[in-house]
Amino acid sequence: MSVIETNGVTKRYGSGEGAVLAVNDLDLTVEEGEVFGFLGPNGAGKSTTIDVLLGFATPTDGSAEVLGHDAVTESEAVRERVGVLPEGYGLYDRLTGRRHLELAAEWTDAAADPVAMLDRVGLDADDADRVVGDYSKGMTQRLALAMALVGDPDLLILDEPSSGLDPNGIRLMREIVREEAEDGTAVFFSSHVLGQVEAVCDRVGILHDGRLVAVDTVDGLREAVGAGSTLKLRLADDPGAAEDGPGEAPGIDAVGDLEGVEGIDAVGREDGLLTVSCSDPRAKARAVSMLADAGIEILDVTSEEASLESVFAAYTTGGEGSILSDRDGDPEGDGRDGSDDGADTGREVVA
């Protein structure tokens, strides 16, 4: 059984000329036990989609089922088994963290141990007895995450869960998502940050301007991202940059050999830096270790990731350096033909 299934969900705000199409004909399926990333820039319609799933908003058209219940007519049954970290939420400033979890436990008929729950999200006993009005943004976010976990839900819906969290908090949140997933909980995880989704999700749906652009495995996404990423290295005694030309300096072979490494498309030079274009982000580490092994001193490394926009472009145009053809090992293939094969490997190009 799918935990989430939407059929042609459309949400339009306003009418006439000023109407905004927040979600456009969305067909989405999330399977039991998977961690599904919902990726898209701010304003793409992610939160609106979640609002529809939770019955916060009624779809203009189409229907959605969550855990086998209609999202509109059986919203209570849906929310009985879903833990939610909503977007744009607020907590009760005058109540303590502990009280929030006690209330969440009452409302879900769960036996909860507030201190243990708080500990799980990295809040201590002192925090438990402070009112939430005194919490920082990160602490509030941790508490809200703990509230979502109360009652051991079958599905977690986390809308931009990393917002407001420091790196430690983000790591903790990822750990929790993984633990929940191992427990069999399906997780629907929305984010506008590529790295967040990439780090925890099994499959990814990409939303752009209210449309589901693609659904892919996270490996497929990695390649799409890798396709646009470039490693820039500043080397001590860079052999290529030396006036004397190649030949004498140590490690020149290593630089030359980089081109043959799997996942590296091109090696070039720019402003005295060695640039390595990768089709697979994992190739970056290989490049660095190869150079290091060859005794080349690396002064600095920077990496430019593909922007979200270029990822969308990679999925939508299927043209230039098409990830689809690369993946399917079809050197002649153009992206459009590749899309059929793509379905076999978990990729499904929707638009």
Binding site: A57, A77, G88, L91, L103, E106
Partner: protein, 297 residues
Amino acid sequence: MSATWRGVARKDVEDAIRSRMVWGLTGIFVVFLTLLLLAFQAQAPAGVDVGTVEALGFVATLAQLFVPLVALVAGYMAIVGERRSGSLRVLLSYPFTRRDVVLGKVVGRSVVIGTALLVAFLVGAAVATLVYGPPAAGSFAGFVAVALLFGLAFSGLAVGVSAATTTRGRAMALSIGTYVGLLFFWRPLVAGLYWAVNGSLPGLRADAWYFLLKRLSPLEAFRVLQSRVLGTEVAEAVGIPVEDVPADATAEQLEIANRVAGEVPFYLQDWFAVVVLVAWGVVPVALGYLRFRDEDI
């Protein structure tokens, strides 16, 4: 306690206690009641013996201004406030229905306002006893019951407004608009309608429908009921002279039975004012709920 209206009500009361809203409201009512009871004694002409009943009548007159205002202020943010802060999104991520939210808020705010009023009346009873001697138990109980009903009607109205609106500004405008409208415009509008139909202002005797419209105002319903339980005519808080009634008209002449022709219809009986007050509490909640139920949050 799972996700039911009781859960919402309990959390609302808890929040009101923590925010000191309960104490604030109780304090306001206590001060209001005590000051009025003392002021009434002080302003009585020397030699005139004023009793508890007259003092309570005086309180009832000014309560028409005061109780609705306080109840509206205490209630207008009940739902729209949670909507704006985003806590409604957290609340509704648990299996509450929209109906649970509205009902829970109505009950919660009613408990808060009702408690504040009751505590104030206890203090008021003590003050009245000290100043005027012990009040008659029957009329005092009646006075408290009617004032409580009045307060709860406005707390329902406030929560209804809060459910129906999506911004604080609109909720405030609608609450203030309703308050001002009831206080200053209801009677002139009804009298104006009478004039439009009959070509003259209502006099000592007028058509029954005129009195019905007049009594559909919660302020008038409250006044009618308090006059009844206290056994003395309670004055209007804002007496805009819109009726063509001689200034020296006697209380007897002003009795409703002597102002309409024939039998007094049921809707002009005093008990009907209870129905009116209940309706003012319930109908806005129902309308607000219908609006809230279908609205995106």
